[in-house]
Subunit: 233 residues, 2 copies
DNA sequence: GCTTGACAACTACCATACCAGTTGCCAGAC
DNA sequence: GTCTGGCAACTGGTATGGTAGTTGTCAAGC
């Protein structure tokens, strides 16, 4: 049941990827949830094959864990993994913003100001997040590194999963301050300032992550012991 | 025919991914080659399903282009795309080597020296490349960024495809000099020197790329026109 | 009560069959 | 000779059936 409207022109597998990805990132499917090709297929009124392909894709993105002949589960959030993903994102966007600081001209500076203004005026969280993405994307595409943004976007999924857990106490003011600092560095044509602002911005999650993990430990992987599950296989 | 030994314990789709990826990266399947799920499946004596999954995975990696109801082809090499991939790799490895320069101790310095020595003594191209990878991987994993190396590894596929075209005039001496400079910066505990050496190393492909593209233009995408194929759909 | 082994109920993986869309060829009309 | 329409031969996408492997349960034996 609950055929969540799968009737676009696009192939079914693609639609399933988007559908399931949203459910996982937005926390509708929580870490630990067990999925099954057959069940999902039956619920959505499609065959198991497209579901399987969606599972594989999401497993590649780190949003699912396929355990053959056992089950497919939404993995618990691994704090060390999140920090590693964040590291990669910071490295990429630091270089991007340096380029922007040296290459952007008046036209791009204007667009940056418009995005900041739109984000200030956003009244819903969804809109705020959309403008957030727009800023980062524009920086990348503006310096001709659209591919890099694609990489960041796939990494970001795992970070967004954490972000959606804290959507209540979403620090809008703090994020806006960070964005203003980044844009200021770019407009000033100062790569060092822009880079530092970007790194500080992306480091913010490190402040929140430990307390988030403590407040809802059932969603996080224990990493107290030396390593993972004591699988005696 | 030609069942290229697919009898490991691993799942068939995984084996197919590795098999096809090697054929593409190593230039056995050249840009422009047209593949077919059915044909590959018949040739290897398996069903179309695992072949299909391998196609999807390789398409994600940029090594195949699936055109529904038309064909699946090995894409021509896009010079701008290669440069964008290279940009991302440089950003990631620059930050990694900075960490290595500040964190590595005597034990890691010894391992770096051993890898350099092994690469100096390599007599086959394959061995040389293997030691090359080992150095980069060790830098990443040594600073606790194994995930970042995974990202680089998937990016590298598209760069390796170019590298294998030039395997004849492979600049071993130049690469070794670069590696020595990187290691020197790390051992000296000088992040700036290490970073600059790494960036210079990874920038080397930019010197060769234009002339490679000119010498074998049939393997490269024309990017003279404003944009891609004039698909009038 | 506790352990153990067989069975039932899952799982993901693979094979096969069918479907819809695209392409290219070729015959017929002009 | 050129153009056009339709059919045949592909393509990848989807549906379904069957198989091997894992897990949990429950009854039989100690």
């Amino acid at each position: 049941m609950a055929i969540s409207r799968l009737d676009d022109g696009k192939p079914i597998n693609t639609q399933l990827i988007v559908l399931l990805r949203n459910r996982i990132v937005q926390g509708e499917l929580l870490p630990g949830a067990k999925l099954s090709e057959a069940k999902i297929a039956a619920d959505l009124g499609v065959s198991r094959q497209p579901v399987r392909e969606a599972f594989i894709k999401l497993a590649d993105e780190g949003l699912l864990e396929i355990r053959p002949q056992r089950a497919t589960v939404v993995p618990k959030i691994s704090v060390p993994r999140v920090m590693e993903v964040r590291f990669v994102r910071e490295a990429i966007e630091a270089d991007i913003v340096r380029l922007a600081a040296t290459r952007f001209g008046r036209a791009e500076h204007g667009e940056l100001a418009r995005i900041i203004a739109a984000q200030e005026g956003a009244d819903s969280v969804e809109e705020f997040i959309a403008e957030d993405d727009r800023l980062h994307r524009f920086l990348a595409e503006g310096v001709g590194q659209g591919y890099a943004w694609g990489v960041v976007e796939s990494l970001k999924l795992q970070l967004d999963r954490v972000r959606f857990l804290t959507v209540r106490q979403f620090p809008k003011q703090s994020i806006l301050d960070h964005h203003r600092a980044i844009v200021a560095g770019v407009v000033a044509g100062n790569p060092d300032r822009a880079e530092q602002a970007m790194r500080a911005h992306l480091n913010a999650i490190n402040d929140d992550l430990p307390e988030i993990a403590k407040s809802m430990p059932e969603l996080f992987e224990d990493h107290v012991g030396a390593g993972g599950q004591p699988d005696l296989a």
